[in-house]
Amino acid sequence: MTTSLALDIGLAGLILAIGIWTVFARDSLAAVIGFVGYGLLLAIIWVRLSAPDVALTEAAIGSGMTGMLLLGAAARLRPAGNQSTRTSLGGRFAIGVLCGMISAGLAIAILFPPESIPSLAPTVMQNLAPSGLGNPVAGVLFVFRALDTLLEKVVLILALLGVWSLATDRAWGGVPGLRIYLEPSNTLTFLAQLLPPVGVVVGVYMCWVGANVPGGAFQGGTVLAAMWLLVMIAGLRNVPRIDGFWLRFLLVIGPVIFLAIGLAGFVLADSFLAYPAGYAKPLIVAVEVALTLSIAVTLGMLGAGPPERSRHS
C-alpha cells in the first residue's frame, strides 16, 4: 500500500514538474513536446483514479491530437521568434502570489470535503440495467446525458466550420494544406504503411466494446483519425477537398442519425432522446458506429487545418 502511495506521489510530482516546464521553457517546441508527455502521464493518473474511459480520452485527444496540432503550430511559428515585451519582475511576483492563492484555495476545497460525499453511482447502476449497457460511463454518455454527447459532437463540427472559415477566398472549397512540413522519409512511409492496419482494428474494437467495457465512439474515432492523418502526412493518400460530397456526408452522418433517433423518441418512447424499451442497446450501438465515423473525419480535418490550395491548382 505504501509503495503504491509513494508511486502516486511521485507521479503527481512528475506531472507538476512537467507542467512548470511547459510554462517556463524558453523554446515553444520543447514546451509542446513536454505537454505531450504531460498528457500521457495524466492518463496514468486517470487510471489510478479508476477512470479508464477518461484515461483513454486524455491519451488520445488531450495528449495526442492536441499535441499534434500544437507541434505543427510551433514548427510553423518558429521563424516568428518572440518580439513581445516581458512583464516586469514585480508584476511577475504579484501574479505569482495571486495564482498561488487561487491554487491554495482550490487545494483547501479538495482537502476538506463535506461530511457526506454526494454520488450518483448507485442511481446510475439502478437505471443502467434496462439499457442493456455494461459500461456505466457509456450509460451516462448515451442514455442519461445523451443531449450533452449530441451537443459535444455539434461543437466539434462548429469548430471545424470555424477553422475552415479562416481560409482565404481563393482557397475556399479547396484542399487543406496539412500543416506539418516534413521531408519525405523512408521511416515515415514505412510507419504509415505498417501502423494503419493495426490502428484501424484497434479503433473499431474500441468503438465496438465501448458499450460494455472502457472505450467508445470518441476514443475509437480518435485512433481512426490518427491513422488517417498519418497516411496523409506521409503523402500516401491525398488530403480531400473540403467541398467533397462524401466528406461532408461523413462529417454529419453521426449527429444526423443521433438526432433522428432522438426525435423518434418522441413517438416511440416518451421523450426526446429516449430509447424504446428493449431496443436501447442496438440503437446506441448504431449511434456509436455512426458517431465514430463522423468523429474520425472531423478530427482528421481539424488536424489538417483550413484549406490553402484552391481546387483548380
Binding site: 502516486d8 506521489i9 503527481a12 507538476l16 507542467g19 511547459t22 510554462v23 517556463f24 515553444s28 514546451a31 498528457g39 495524466l42 493518473i45 489510478r48 483514479l49 479508476s50 477512470a51 474511459d53 486524455e58 488531450g62 492536441t66 496540432l69 500544437l70 503550430a73 510553423r76 511559428l77 516568428a80 518572440n82 518580439q83 513581445s84 515585451t85 516581458r86 512583464t87 501574479i95 505569482g96 495564482c99 487561487i102 491554487s103 482550490l106 487545494a107 476545497a109 479538495i110 482537502l111 460525499i117 450518483l120 453511482a121 448507485p122 460511463v137 451516462v140 454518455l141 442519461f144 446525458r145 450533452d148 454527447t149 461543437v155 466539434l156 469548430a159 477553422v163 479562416l166 481539424l302
Partner: protein, 113 residues
C-alpha cells in the same frame, strides 16, 4: 492523506501554474498551452471528486467521469480553433504576438485578446 487527495492538490497546483503561464507568457501559442494546463487541472480535481463518490461497486462516480470526457473533447475543439486563428494571424501579419501594433495603445484597457 490518500493518493486521491494528492492528485487533487496536484490538480489545484496545475490550475495556478497554468493561470500564471496564461498571464505572464506573451507568446499566444504558450497561452494556448497554459490554458490547456488550467483545463487539465480542473479535470483532475473533478476526477478526484468522482473517485470520492465511489459506490455501488464502481471505482468512481460515472457521471463526473462522463462530463470530463465531454470536457476534454470540447477543450480540444477550442484549442484547434485557437491554433487556426493564431496561424492565420501569422500568415496575415507575419507576426505572432498580441501587441496591437496599429494604434500603438497595446497597454490600453481593451487590448485583451
Amino acid at each position: 492523506m490518500n493518493a486521491a487527495a494528492w492528485f487533487g492538490v496536484c490538480g489545484a497546483a496545475l490550475v495556478g501554474i497554468g493561470l500564471y503561464g496564461l498571464v505572464i507568457n506573451p507568446d499566444p501559442l504558450r497561452k494556448i498551452l497554459a490554458f490547456n494546463l488550467v483545463g487539465s487541472g480542473v479535470f483532475l480535481m473533478f476526477g478526484v471528486v468522482a473517485k470520492r463518490g465511489a459506490a455501488a461497486g464502481l471505482g468512481g462516480d460515472p457521471v463526473p467521469q462522463a462530463l470530463v470526457i465531454t470536457a476534454i473533447v470540447v477543450a480540444f475543439a477550442a484549442t484547434a480553433m485557437a491554433v487556426a486563428l493564431l496561424l492565420r494571424l501569422f500568415e496575415a501579419t507575419g507576426e505572432a504576438n498580441l501587441d496591437s501594433g496599429v494604434s500603438g495603445d497595446a497597454k490600453g484597457g481593451d487590448a485583451r485578446c
